[in-house]
């Protein structure tokens, strides 16, 4: 059976549908929210897209500080930004 083309996940408890192959960072951008708050309280989003800047880190399936640009979305994944 072919894998379904779209995936359903929760970003801060909001359901989001993305196509297979979407990174978690892109899903967070689609949700329109920042990925994290900086140490002085600024809202931040992804910068480098290749796993070096750590601006896109988020909690994915309960695991904190994951670089969301390096993780692909999966069915029923739960993503939380700070």
């Amino acid at each position: 059976m072919p894998e379904p083309a779209s995936l359903h996940l929760l970003v801060n408890d909001v359901p989001i549908t993305v196509s297979r192959g979407t990174t978690v960072a892109s899903a967070i951008l689609i949700a329109g929210i920042p990925t994290r708050q900086s140490v002085s309280g600024e809202a931040r989003g992804p910068l480098c897209g290749m796993g070096i800047c750590f601006e896109c880190r988020a909690t994915i399936d309960g695991v904190r500080h994951q670089r969301s640009c390096q993780v692909l979305c999966a069915e029923e994944m739960e993503v939380r930004t700070s």
Binding site: T23, P46, C48, G51, F54
Partner: protein, 439 residues
């Protein structure tokens, strides 16, 4: 448990793939370790269909006996001829006889007021987001910075339906034309061709132009551009801004490879100053895909001891030096780009350290110790290259502060991988944590 390879390759971009496939074809047992979800590096991200070269090499890799560790990042070298990699919250040790470092490059980011706002990204950064599923059709995008990547990104985003409001290349036209001339001999035609291609999508190319500020409430709303004496605002959804590339030198530096002028020093066979450690692709000089593939093949052959074949390719490699030189010259940053950083502009985004606080110090090391700049999770990968340009601190002094682990790791990865059990976010050492030996 240590897995052992005759040849271990770090980085599955063009250079690493070429090295691994070429070495494996000689019968050596080869391992390939790479941080990204899929092979291809940044240039072939999510797109075997992008070019014939990409398709060919990714197919060769798939058909090869190379042992692949995709989604694993190398964090340390715990002992001689062993690298430690972490992936999916576990770590493993990979042993080798010969090592090929093909760690690629990242974009150089320069700070200016507002650059930390969400939706200000690297040029390659936004491109990666779009390749990673971000819809861009109908969005207004300003592409800025320097280097050939800008045009490639603009063309790709336009193809996906983005409205490219402006492309701002910091190099002047006077600098740009000789570069194209060196390549093709018909500079005006090349520029016209590119301008034509992009004008179809309604975008405008400015040379000698760069962003000086970004503003917005929660995220980017407008970017202020400057060209000569003229300054104006453009409303946009995304600013894709990168100032060419800087090589990823953390691992070569950790291994003790000699680095000169910001690049790993290699001989004609891509061997570094350390016997048995080879380096290929952008870390030896920013030259693009074709040179990276060639260097990868040379490194793979040399690491496998096929020196005659390596030497033959090395002759071809030598003919490309002119291109690397021309590319370096055209992407040299205009010193006026330093003028737009204000005292309150953050340079270190991890620890939120302002330019005023960093520039008080005489060196990168001193600034780190006093302000924590470069000591957050990115370990200076972003602010180091910015400080290098803004304050004239050389890349060598910035790299001299590289320490293992070269990425943030789980505490467990500093211990003995055989003795650890993972439970949720916490660690449960089965046999007690082994403290990391200090040198």
């Amino acid at each position: 448990m240590t897995e052992h390879f005759d040849i271990l390759v770090v980085g599955a971009g063009p250079a690493g793939i070429a090295a691994a496939v070429t070495a494996a074809a000689t019968g050596e047992r080869v391992g390939l370790v790479d941080d990204n979800p899929a092979a291809g590096g940044q240039i072939w991200r999510s797109g075997a269909a992008q070019s014939t070269a990409a398709r060919t090499w990714l197919e060769r890799l798939a058909a090869s006996p190379v042992a692949r560790f995709q989604g694993w990042r190398v964090v340390d070298s715990p002992s001689r001829c062993v690298l430690r990699a972490e992936g999916n919250r576990v770590c493993r040790d990979l042993g080798y006889e010969q090592l090929v470092l093909a760690t690629g490059a990242r974009e150089r980011f320069l700070p200016f007021p507002g650059w930390t706002l969400p939706n200000v990204m690297g040029a390659g950064g936004l491109d990666a987001m779009v390749r990673g599923g971000l819809p861009i059709a109908g969005k207004r995008v300003v592409v800025a910075g320097t280097g050939p990547l800008l045009l490639a990104v603009a063309a790709h985003l336009a193809h996906r339906g983005a409205r490219i409001v402006a492309i701002c290349e910091q190099a002047s036209l006077g600098r740009f034309l000789p570069f194209f001339a060196s390549l093709l001999g018909e500079p005006v035609k090349v520029m016209q061709g590119i301008e034509y291609a992009l004008s179809t999508f309604g975008s405008k190319i400015y040379t000698g132009c760069w962003p000086v500020a970004v503003s917005g409430q929660e995220k980017l709303e407008t970017v202020t551009l400057r060209r000569g004496g003229r300054q104006w605002e453009e409303r946009c959804d995304y600013l894709a801004c990168g100032f060419h590339l800087v090589p990823n030198l953390e691992l070569p530096a950790l291994m003790g490879c000699r680095i000169d002028n910001g690049f790993v020093v290699v001989d004609d066979r891509q061997q570094s100053s350390i016997a048995g450690i080879f380096c290929a692709g952008e870390p030896t000089g920013i030259g693009g895909v074709e040179i990276a593939l060639l260097e990868g093949e040379i490194a793979g052959l040399a690491a496998a001891g096929k020196l005659d074949a390596a030497n033959k390719l090395a002759l071809r490699r030598r003919r490309r030096f002119g291109f690397v030189r021309a590319l370096t010259a055209v992407t040299e940053l205009d010193p006026r780009l330093k003028q737009f950083v204000t005292d309150s502009t953050l340079v270190c985004r991890c620890e939120d350290v302002s330019f005023a606080r960093i520039r008080e110090h005489a060196s990168w090391r001193e600034a780190k110790l006093h302000t924590r700049c470069g000591m957050g999770p990115c370990q200076g990968r972003v602010c180091g290259a910015a400080a290098e340009f803004l304050l004239g601190w050389d890349a060598g002094s910035i790299l001299s502060s590289v320490r293992p682990p070269i990425y943030p790791v789980l505490v467990s990865s500093l211990g003995d991988p055989d003795k650890l059990v993972y439970e949720g976010n916490s660690l449960a050492p089965a046999g007690g944590l082994t403290p990391k030996e200090t040198e």
